[in-house]
């Protein structure tokens, strides 16, 4: 069976959707965090697929930048989440809701 570029694009779209859905449905901050990573990596897969299909190295270079940005987001995000978890262990996103109106 021939696995063409569109298969990869569909797979990436599905992973992206899983990540987006997971972020909206799950309430554990760390799982929400993993969902964000899932979304970013789905985009990476899209970039690499297009890069190969267009025969343009640019798309693969972009993946480098996205990886670094994702790492920076991880560092900052984990810092924020741990700052909250430290004071109130076992918290879920629903409990962080003093601000509303």
């Amino acid at each position: 069976m021939d696995v063409g570029a569109s298969w990869y694009l569909v797979l990436a779209a599905m992973i992206f959707a899983i990540g987006a859905l997971g972020l909206m449905v799950r309430r554990n901050p760390l799982v929400m965090f993993m969902c964000i990573e899932l979304m970013l990596n789905a985009v990476n897969l899209t970039f690499v697929t297009f890069s190969r299909e267009l025969n343009d190295i640019g798309g693969q270079v972009i993946v480098f930048f996205v990886l670094v940005v994702a790492a920076a987001e991880v560092t900052v995000g984990l810092g924020i989440i741990v700052a909250i978890l430290r004071r109130r262990p076992g918290i879920t996103a629903d409990d962080v809701s003093a601000l509303k109106g």
Binding site: L9, F16, G19, A20, L23, P29, M32, F33, I36, M39, L40, A42, V43, T46, F47, T49, F50, E53, L54, D56, G58, G59, I62, F65, V66, V69, A72, E73, V76, G77, G79, I80, I81, A83, I84, R87, A93, V96, S97, A98, L99, K100, G101
Partner: protein
């Protein structure tokens, strides 16, 4: 393969064009390094002064290239191998963002001492965020745009949670982080789809490709548009992507809120203008209805929900959403007139909102918590000067003539009428009427009701020097430009973005 190595042509670094960016990043690095390596306590306000100097230097060096880029014989150019585009638009937004960071730094100075958080970190974060915003305004390539957006956002996630002892500040940081990361993933996916449809992330190449080719897979490009709009819509807090705005604006330290509402919003609109209005101009029938829809929802929801708030910071968050609706009206017009009206709005709004949150910083007192509308009761008799300044900002936001707020709204609606978007102009005017009510509500609380029992419990409100200067500058700009707007409006007219890959 290794045998025949030839030196590659390296990108020409246009120092004059990069000077504003280098000033901000350099200021941040100097602050960080000097403050960590010296053990002596710095003189009062030294961090804020360095930050303001960096911002002033950025403004000065941006103005220095204004004549060159607006001169028809030389014109705009692309720097650093076509990654950044240097035109009047870049210069104008550099000034808007640098003004935002300078005024916010003045507010930070006393705020940090009052809250016992003194240190260089917040200034470093604000400077780096401003540098990211600058990169967004200059970006000539979608990936550069993404990197600028991330530098802006990541610095602001931390800044939002900077008041680490306050639970609401930590909560704001977490909400901002989760929703911000969510939106940037959408933006990135949009970039990927546009790249797939056009074969490049460079705005000049994308525009050239779209004008010379008929797309086989138009669906890909349209999906890319939609995702880019979602991502940027989050950043400008357009309805229905606004849910983070009230919580984050309310929970974040007030000077940081001032920065978010001014510089961060300006950078996001810069991206929207350069990507959609300039690059995808030929496809405007595809995206104009989307932005018009966003604008209507934003105008209505922002104005209506602002009325029912009892917390002034939260109320201003909703009002900033409705202001974003006005700017979106200018964006959807998709003409030079619309763009320059949006630019004028951004500059005017930067001074207005920093001033508004500046007053909130002062009234918030120790703990940064006294933001209920009842805390403003009787301010007119307790601190007449402060109340008067706040009245100016509120009336200007409501759009009272002789202020920049009125002119900003007038230019935007004028551009919409010229483009025959009559119904959009009508919605904008109705929204202005509705939101006038909420500004008046605060004014009434200040002048026509007695101060609450707790109001004078911890003494008279002090107006610190830094905040005082910031408020004075903001009031002066609002009134002076409100009366004689010609020069600033003329600058905004010449600051329309241009696509070019001409080396400088």
């Amino acid at each position: 393969m290794i045998a025949q190595v030839q030196a590659m042509s390296t990108p020409d670094v246009a120092w004059s064009a990069l000077a504003p960016l280098l000033a901000l990043v350099g200021g941040a690095l100097v602050l960080l390094l000097v403050s960590t390596l010296t053990t002596a306590k710095p003189p009062r306000g030294a961090y804020a002064i360095i930050t303001v100097l960096a911002a002033v230097f950025a403004i000065g060096s941006a103005m220095a290239i204004w004549d060159r880029v607006t001169d028809p014989s030389q014109g705009p150019y692309a720097a650093v191998a076509g990654a950044l585009s240097i035109d009047g638009f870049t210069v104008f937004l550099t000034i808007v963002i640098a003004v935002g960071v300078a005024l916010a730094a003045m507010l930070c100075d006393d705020y940090l001492r009052r809250e016992g958080l003194d240190g260089p970190e917040l200034y470093v974060l604000l400077l780096l965020a401003a540098a990211g915003g600058l990169v967004m305004a200059m970006a000539n390539d979608l990936i550069v745009l993404f990197l600028g957006l991330e530098s802006l956002s990541i610095a602001l996630y931390v800044a939002a949670g900077f008041h680490r002892r306050r639970a609401s500040s930590r909560e704001a940081a977490m909400k901002y982080f989760v929703l911000g990361a969510f939106s940037s993933a959408f933006l990135l996916y949009g970039i990927a789809l546009v790249y797939g449809a056009t074969g490049s992330t460079n705005l000049v190449k994308i525009s050239a490709f779209l004008s010379h080719n008929v797309l086989e897979r138009e669906g890909l490009l349209l999906a890319g548009f939609a995702l880019l709009l979602v991502g940027l819509g989050f950043k400008v807090s357009a309805v229905p992507f606004h849910v983070w705005t009230p919580d984050v604006y309310q929970g974040a330290p007030t000077p940081v809120t001032a920065f978010m509402a001014s510089a961060s919003k300006a950078a996001a609109f810069a991206a929207l203008l350069r990507v959609f209005v300039t690059t995808f101009y030929a496809q405007r029938v595809d995206w104009q209805p989307l932005i018009a829809g966003l604008a209507v929802a934003t105008l209505v929801v922002g104005a209506v929900l602002a009325i029912v708030q009892s917390d002034v910071k939260r109320m201003m968050a909703y009002s900033s959403i409705s202001h974003a609706g006005f700017i979106l009206v200018g964006v959807q017009v998709a003409s030079a007139r619309g763009t320059s009206s949006a630019l004028f709005y951004l500059l005017a709004y930067t001074f207005l909102i920093v001033g508004t949150f500046g007053v909130a910083t002062v009234v918030g007192r120790r703990g940064d918590a006294a933001h209920a509308i009842t805390d403003y009761r009787g301010l007119g008799s307790r601190r007449p000067g402060l109340a008067l300044v706040f009245t100016v900002f509120l009336l200007a936001q409501a759009g009272v003539p002789l202020t920049t707020g009125f002119l900003a709204k007038f230019y935007v609606i004028n551009a919409a009428v010229e483009a025959r978007s009559y119904w959009l102009a009508i919605v904008a005017m109705l929204s202005a009427v509705v939101s006038a009510f909420l500004y008046l509500r605060v004014v009434v609380a200040m002048y026509m009701s007695e101060p609450g029992a707790a109001a004078d419990a911890d003494g008279r409100l002090q107006i610190p020097a830094g905040a005082g200067i910031a408020l004075a500058l903001a009031v002066a700009f609002t009134l002076v430009v409100g009366v004689v707007p010609d020069r600033v409006a003329h600058w905004a007219d010449r600051a329309v973005p241009v696509l070019t890959d001409k080396a400088g």
